[in-house]
């Protein structure tokens, strides 16, 4: 079996893992809180990709296909949209207080 011409579940899982790792690296190396937030979205999307791939390759006996994994991804997308709205509102109110979005400057719980 040729690894380049036959796309298996492993390919999708590798892609998902790589995407997650890039997101995690971004969270660790970036200093702007907004970009860190974008990298969190990348990690969520990596998880979505893994779920869709598992859902696609899961076939019940008799060739019946279920959509539970895709429902889960649908819910994750919904929750992520709500979470982005709340998180950005928090960032805006933080910026109003401190006039910065650099995480190195945000090192006090109270000021």
């Amino acid at each position: 079996m040729n690894v380049f011409t036959e796309i298996t579940l492993n390919h999708y899982l590798a892609l998902s893992g790589l995407l997650f790792m890039i997101g995690l690296a971004g969270v660790m190396i970036r200093r702007s809180i907004l970009v860190i937030y974008m990298c969190l979205e990348l990690m969520l999307n990596a998880a979505n990709l893994a779920l869709v791939a598992f859902n696609r390759f899961h076939v019940k006996p008799g060739g019946i296909h279920d959509y539970d994994g895709q429902i889960m991804v649908f819910m994750i997308i919904t929750v992520a949209a709500a979470e982005v709205a709340v998180g950005l509102a928090l960032i805006v109110s933080l910026y109003r207080l401190r006039q910065t979005t650099n995480v190195n400057d945000l090192n006090a719980l109270k000021f």
């Binding site: 079996m1 380049f4 036959e6 796309i7 298996t8 492993n10 390919h11 999708y12 899982l13 590798a14 892609l15 893992g17 995407l19 790792m21 890039i22 997101g23 690296a25 971004g26 660790m28 190396i29 970036r30 702007s32 907004l34 970009v35 937030y37 974008m38 990298c39 979205e41 990348l42 999307n45 979505n48 990709l49 869709v52 696609r56 390759f57 076939v59 060739g63 296909h65 279920d66 959509y67 539970d68 895709q70 429902i71 991804v73 649908f74 819910m75 997308i77 919904t78 992520a80 949209a81 709500a82 709205a85 709340v86 950005l88 509102a89 960032i91 805006v92 109110s93 910026y95 979005t101």
Partner: protein, 168 residues
């Protein structure tokens, strides 16, 4: 042909994701994030999840990216300054990568190989996946669906409370 499409889309996805974390300008990062979402929607299409691909583009590349760009413009965020990366952080990243690579390799070697896309097409794939997802969503997952509605309401009220100025 499908394999070629997968490789093109996967390369684009990883390249766009890398561009997100290596650009100093947050606006460029946000635009590359939108590119990442579009490529991910293409990957969903290769997995025959057409409904999710459309939702991905509408919700992420549409709504979420507009929010991000709006906040970047509102706060007028400048590009990050160049700075040396501390040695401890490089060590941390390397250690985490090694741990990740170990578990990743273990998962990939433990999985049964040979599950290709063709296997499903033999059984005959249902093509109307929006209809199928709707059926499952409104029968087995009605409670989850209702809870999501409450969550969205709570998020809306929370955002309004967070962003309103204190009245003196």
């Amino acid at each position: 042909m499908e394999a070629l499409f997968f490789w093109i889309v996967a390369t684009g996805l990883i390249a766009a994701a890398l561009a997100v974390i290596f650009n100093r300008n947050p606006v460029a990062s946000a635009l590359f994030l939108a590119t990442t979402f579009v490529f991910l929607a293409c990957v969903f299409i290769t997995l025959e999840a057409f409904f999710l691909a459309v939702v991905q583009i509408i919700v992420y590349a549409g709504a979420v990216m507009v929010l991000f760009l709006f906040i970047i413009m509102l706060l007028d965020i400048k590009a990050e300054a160049k700075r040396p990366i501390p040695f401890g952080k490089i060590l941390l990243v390397l250690a985490l990568s090694l741990v990740f690579a170990f578990f990743f390799g273990k998962v990939l070697t433990d999985l049964p190989t040979g599950q290709t896309l063709l296997q499903w097409n033999v059984h005959g794939a249902p093509k109307q996946d929006a209809k199928e997802i709707g059926m499952v969503l409104f029968t087995n997952y009605t409670l989850v669906f209702g809870t999501t509605a409450v969550l969205l309401l709570v998020a809306t009220i929370g955002v309004i409370l967070l962003s309103k100025r204190e009245v003196k």
